[in-house]
């Protein structure tokens, strides 16, 4: 039977995931800055206030630390809160709560208190929002044991990761690349929850493993198509979950291709790409036929001007050029 598909945006898919969660579980509520009357800074929660009311769609004051911490408390108190933080840069105001409380409570209490909290936030550049709204800090968060870090790059994941995250007994951070909100694709009519512990191999090839996530995944798709015209066939892996990493996925790929190129919008030094690279060195060294390489953002605060921002971010051309060099020498 043919699968029924419909066209929608990444934003619509997130909205649908939220709506489903609110319908399915009375304990679920959404809080954050401008999630209610404004409809969400990026319009992700549009319409939810009318449907679910102000008790469950809660506009908060501009107090990232308080409302994120309140999410932790509410989770401890038996609810299933979804906290929306406008952008990853603002999340730093709540970093104390995320790092010192959400991530530690289970361990610090010797297993007494788990924190079933979901925190969503926009991440990444590409919208000319300059140095306080454009960074990709999910790799930073992936450094922290005790939380899980997801980054949906596809409609399927935008739609399906939230419910799986809510079922998780521990804090889950979902990073939504802001540049993807208007992206229009098709999604199965019956799309639902998705696994959040596995990476996904989107495209198969024998020559090189392109390992990425988030908005860079789409640049990898474009690069893979160009490389295929040259006869270079690449695996494209969407990590999806940045913590805990599905290490097996890229080790398996590297065992086949013997070459790995990691594309990560975070800064290079101490990046998630560095972690992936290190794991390949540690666990697949003798599979390598070329040095592992990384394409990351330039190590500057994000500039405003379009051409400067483009120069700072990983781009298709550099992915293609690096891949060619790695395969052909």
């Amino acid at each position: 039977m043919e699968q029924q598909l419909r066209k929608m945006t990444y934003r619509d898919a997130l909205n649908e995931g939220l709506r489903e969660a609110l319908q399915k579980d009375e304990r679920v509520f959404l809080m954050g800055e401008d999630v209610g009357r404004y409809g969400g800074c990026f319009a992700v929660s549009k319409g939810l206030l009318d449907e679910f009311g102000p008790e469950r769609i809660r506009d908060t004051p501009l107090s990232e630390s308080a409302f994120t911490g309140a999410g932790i408390g509410a989770a401890l108190g038996g609810m299933r809160p979804i906290v929306e933080i406008m952008t990853v840069n603002f999340s730093l105001l709540a970093l104390d709560q995320i790092m010192n409380n959400a991530a530690t409570y289970l361990h610090m209490s010797g297993g007494l208190f788990n924190v079933p909290l979901v925190i969503r936030m926009a991440t990444g550049g590409g919208k000319q929002l300059a140095a306080q709204h454009s960074h990709s800090l999910e790799g930073w968060y992936a450094h922290i044991p005790g939380i899980k870090v997801l980054c949906p790059a596809t409609l399927e994941d935008a739609r399906g990761m939230l419910w799986s995250a809510l079922l998780d007994p521990d804090p889950v951070l979902i990073f939504e690349p802001a540049v993807l909100y208007p992206m229009e694709r098709t999604l199965a009519v019956d799309a639902g929850p998705v696994a959040i512990d596995k990476a996904k191999l989107h495209r198969e090839g024998k020559d090189l493993s392109l390992i990425s996530y988030g908005s860079c995944l789409h640049k990898c798709f474009d690069a893979a198509a160009i490389l295929a015209e040259d006869g270079i066939e690449v695996d494209v892996i969407d990590l999806r979950t940045l913590r805990p990493l599905d290490t097996e996925s890229f080790l398996t790929s590297v065992a086949k291709t013997h070459r790995a190129l990691i594309v990560d919008e975070g800064w290079r030094s101490g990046s998630l790409a560095a972690e992936v690279s290190a794991r390949i060195m540690e666990q697949a060294f003798y599979q390598l036929d070329a040095p592992v390489e990384r394409i990351c953002s330039a190590e500057v605060p994000m500039p405003y001007a379009k051409h400067m921002e483009e120069a700072a971010l990983p781009q298709v051309a550099s992915i293609v050029a690096t891949a060619r060099r790695m395969v052909h020498g």
Binding site: P61, G77, G78, L112, P244
Partner: protein, 334 residues
């Protein structure tokens, strides 16, 4: 808005309750004195922040709380843990770092947790507990549970942004939080007047339209009474209340503190107002306690502490193989 000022000392009304309060304060005092000894003997390590001198606050407030209420405390929380009903053995074993500790040796002195008694830490980030308390109250509000979340903090935490954010949120959303400020006049070594532009702490809460009261934190009877009123208000209104208890820490901030920031005379002056000493004297005046009863009380407490120490000594160390347990709820995730 209500504002209960510090009142003149009230006569004792109830012998049984008074004796109970004395016993609770003594349990904390003697437990901590033992802890000091064990710290010096290197049985307890890390930071050890003593509550000695401030016992009336935890004991008085605990009287106003039911077992169903929640407590969020600070790293100076041995007293709160004891009066919430946790066993001294579980607390002592935790400070020993043993597997039978309340947190299996993962928390230590600063992080005492207990699910049964709804003690949500033991938070070692100053101000870190405010939002959690607000969230616990939010959960109760959304689930229509008539419970109180008691959030204890020192006056130093009121300089943190999280105090202001949380006070605003609790008031804005009308959430049932009893904020208890344990004002011991020093944020570690920085005196109140050196860290706050306005030293009338209640006025800060009042700025968020939260009702307040201030009480002598060295008088357990007064604290118990004020806390009862405050918690009743929270239960009735489902909204927050701010209670300031003026108290004093007799011991250094932690074990390794030469106390350069305050004079011996000042400390001695406060010691004259020791909550245990003054209650004992008042009980004696009333003829509600004599030396032999007091001796018996001390003996019972000594036995309880000895058994707690014994329990901690006998307890095993957690297996290092379990190092990464409790990072995630699902076993094997890391």
């Amino acid at each position: 808005m209500t504002n209960t000022d510090i009142k003149a000392r009230q006569p004792l009304a109830n012998q049984e309750q008074s004796l109970h309060l004395l016993r609770q304060m003594l349990r904390i005092r003697r437990f901590e004195e033992k802890s000091t000894e064990l710290y010096s003997a290197m049985k307890i390590r890390g930071f050890l922040h003593l509550y000695i001198g401030e016992e009336a606050v935890a004991v008085g407030v605990a009287e106003a709380l039911s077992t169903d209420d929640a407590v969020v405390a600070t790293y100076r929380e041995h007293g709160h843990a004891i009066v919430r009903g946790m066993s001294m053995g579980a607390i002592m074993a935790e400070m020993y770092g043993k597997v039978d500790g309340c947190c299996r040796g993962r928390g230590g002195s600063m992080h005492l947790f207990d699910a049964e008694h709804r003690l949500y830490g033991g938070n070692a980030i100053v101000g870190g507990g405010f939002p959690i308390a607000v969230g616990l109250a939010l959960a109760d509000h959304l689930q229509k549970k008539a419970r109180v979340t008691c959030c204890c903090f020192g006056e130093g935490a009121m300089a943190e942004g999280e105090f202001h954010e949380s006070m605003n949120l609790a008031s804005l959303w009308q959430l049932p939080v009893l904020f208890v400020c344990e004002n011991n006049f020093y944020a570690m070594g920085t005196a109140l007047e050196l860290s706050e532009s306005v030293v009338d702490l209640s006025s800060k809460a009042a700025a968020y339209a939260v009702p307040t009261a201030t009480v002598d934190g060295m008088d357990v009877i007064a604290v118990a009474e004020a806390a009862k009123k405050a918690s009743d208000t929270v239960r009735e209104t489902g909204a927050p209340f701010f209670l300031e208890c003026r108290t004093y820490r007799f011991r250094p901030h932690s074990m390794f503190d030469p106390e350069l920031y305050r004079s011996k005379q000042e400390v001695d002056g406060w010691k004259q107002r020791c909550p245990i000493l003054s209650l004992t004297n008042r009980l004696k005046e009333k003829g509600w306690i004599d030396d032999s009863t007091l001796e018996k009380l001390e003996e019972d407490i000594a036995t309880e502490i000895a058994s707690a120490v014994d329990f901690a000594e006998q307890s095993e160390w957690e297996s290092v193989e379990d190092l990464t347990r409790f990072v995630y709820s699902d076993v094997g995730v890391n």
